[in-house]
């Protein structure tokens, strides 16, 4: 989606790091959501500008995304300085200053008195991301014909031997494996593949209830996802091409037809 041919190797490397930053509420990469507006590389300094679907989007999530951008881009060995720039947001000024100085969210918005600690929010949404990824893997396995008893007995090793043909299922499998590891819920090949977020294994008897709980998580997250994608596009509607040439935003929104089609 950001496959502009004019990208330098360094810009490309930054975009690849940005693929790893998710919106905590939606568990989807910022780059897929089209939130990242521009990447500028000047020698060893990287500036990333991002814009959310509305001026009112939760400051807590905005801050987590800004932190994520900083963290992921800083991993590149040649990067000395990362500057993150949140645009057109009600808290943009305070937040940009704080993130770029490495201060906390509480310091950014002077929330100490109400305990403005994002650890709790981060954990709530990490659990939800885990559940959503788990549901998509379970649904994909059911579509292959695996029943509740079999899924309850599934080990990590068995999951790793599955080769989905559907690319989306394959992607979710990888993402689920990753978050299983992050939460330390399954590591050895013999570990149950489908624990709940607290580590309680899936059982055949509990299968229906588990799927019901996971569905509820997905319904909530999809609501946000559908709304945010749409609102973001509406918000970008004001953006028009300059002199008939598509801008980076056009590339991000897939508004640029493939060259062959454009003739």
């Amino acid at each position: 989606m950001h496959a502009s041919e004019s990208l330098t190797a360094r810009e490309r490397a930054v975009w690849q790091r940005l693929d790893r930053v998710t919106d905590p509420e939606l568990d989807e990469p910022l780059t897929d959501l089209g939130f990242v507006e521009a990447v500028r590389v000047e020698k060893e300094t990287v500036t990333v500008s991002f814009r959310l679907p509305t001026y009112w989007c939760s400051p807590n999530f905005a801050f987590l995304m800004a932190e994520g951008i900083r963290r992921e881009v800083a991993v590149l060995p040649w990067v000395r300085t990362v500057r993150v720039h949140l645009e057109d947001h009600m808290c943009a000024e305070e937040m940009n200053a704080a993130v770029n100085d490495g201060r906390s969210f509480a310091e950014a918005l002077a929330l100490r008195e109400e305990g403005g600690d994002l650890a709790e929010v981060r954990e709530i949404f990490h659990r939800k991301a885990f559940q959503r990824r788990q549901e998509s893997v379970l649904v994909a396995l059911r579509a292959l014909g695996h029943g509740p008893a079999e899924l309850a007995a599934f080990t990590l090793g068995a999951l790793d031997r599955i080769r989905f043909e559907d690319p989306e299922a394959r992607r979710q499998q990888g993402r689920y494996r990753e978050i299983l590891g992050e939460r330390g819920l399954a590591e050895a090949p013999g570990d149950p593949a489908f624990p709940d977020p607290d580590g309680v294994p899936l059982t055949e008897a509990g299968f229906k209830e588990r799927m019901s709980a996971l569905r509820a998580v997905r319904i909530n997250m999809e609501f946000g996802g559908a709304l945010c994608r749409g609102l973001k596009q509406s918000r970008y509607k004001e953006v028009v091409s300059v002199d008939g040439e598509p801008t980076l935003v056009d590339f991000m929104l897939d508004r640029v037809p493939p060259r062959s089609a454009a003739g």
Binding site: L109, A216, I219, A226, L231
Partner: protein
């Protein structure tokens, strides 16, 4: 009145509408502009293309527009106006009750106008509730728990100040408490979409009905859980409704969850006019069936009887509207378009 394709007449109460002034002249600051821009993005993004308005009409429309869109071109019989003040953003407020009562006075028997208040105003909030009851005889009131007020970034319905307001509402017979628990708008450090405060308030105020606007989306599971425990908790479908067009399967999943947990008597239709207009929403809703696999999973389906409840009968019960006599009253003063 909505007439179904087979000729049945359905009484429609639109549970959530606005009569706002979001025009540039009324913006107090950039927040006012951003607020109406955000609403407009909701509008353009989830409305079918044929139903989209020009921005200039969207930011400010007249009483004739409301009347035509809801009652002449639209299928509504009545509508509940939810007052929203936002005086920090708009010079004369966004859709304050003073503005809302003007359209209600112009078209009698059509509107239920609800008040709004902020418990953080303390004694002033209580005085204001008295004023609302005496001046406008309100039957319902809206609380916007994620609203900022000075240094405060929101409040909960189980705080002492909110309880004082609820006690007074109960005493004065303002029985319907609408809570904005939904998307948008500035929750801060906490998960401010949280709906658990409603659980406490609903338990402690059995004489009040709590209508959770937007069904707590995106916290539908928590909302369903609470609504199962508390018999006086209802779900307002505003904002969930337009997904019927943009994401019909997803709409089916949401409705199936709500019907499974809450049953058909606790859900209220709402267009959120002027973000969306009611005609296409009601037409699509009447034609809608929950996809079979989802319906089978949850053992529920949207029957005509259930749709009729959601579209009007449930709200009529909450607001003490006697449907046959209201129908007769409205039939006696048929809709008419003012000279335009």
């Amino acid at each position: 009145m909505y007439r179904t394709p087979d000729g049945k007449e359905i009484f429609v109460i639109d549970g959530h509408i606005h009569y706002w002034d979001g025009s540039p002249e009324n913006h107090r600051n950039v927040h006012g502009k951003q607020f109406i821009d955000c609403f407009y993005a909701y509008h353009t993004n989830l409305s079918p293309e044929s139903e989209r308005w020009e921005k200039s009409k969207f930011v400010k429309y007249g009483p004739e527009d409301v009347y035509r869109d809801l009652f002449i071109e639209g299928p509504d019989d009545m509508a509940i106006i939810q007052s929203t003040h936002l005086r920090d953003f708009f010079n004369t407020g966004f859709n304050p009750i003073e503005r809302n009562v003007t359209v209600a006075a112009k078209y009698p028997d059509r509107f239920i106008v609800n008040g709004a208040c902020d418990p953080r105003d303390g004694e002033k909030a209580l005085e204001y509730i008295h004023f609302l009851k005496e001046t406008y005889d309100i039957k319902g009131i809206k609380f916007y728990t994620a609203e900022w007020n000075g240094d405060s970034k929101g409040y909960r319905m189980d705080e002492p100040a909110a309880y004082k307001c609820l006690e007074l509402c109960e005493k004065l017979g303002i029985r319907n408490v609408h809570l904005h628990k939904g998307p948008t708008i500035i929750p801060l450090s906490k998960d401010a979409f949280d709906v658990h405060d409603v659980d406490y308030a609903a338990t402690d105020f059995q004489g009040l009905n709590f209508i959770v606007e937007h069904c707590g989306l995106p916290r539908l599971d928590d909302f369903c859980w609470i609504a199962v425990q508390e018999t006086n908790v209802y779900g307002g479908l505003a904002v969930a409704m337009p997904f019927i067009h943009a994401r019909p399967r997803y709409f089916g999943e949401v409705i199936a969850e709500l019907l499974f947990w809450l049953g058909p008597d606790k859900l209220l239709f709402g267009s959120d006019y002027a973000i969306w207009t009611p005609r296409w929403l009601v037409e699509k809703f009447w034609a809608y069936q929950i996809p079979e696999d989802i319906a089978a999973e949850r053992g529920v389906q949207l029957t005509d009887e259930i749709k009729e409840k959601i579209l009007g009968l449930n709200a009529a019960a909450l607001y003490g509207i006697d449907v046959p006599s209201q129908r007769a009253k409205l039939a006696a003063s048929p809709v008419s378009i003012a000279a335009e």
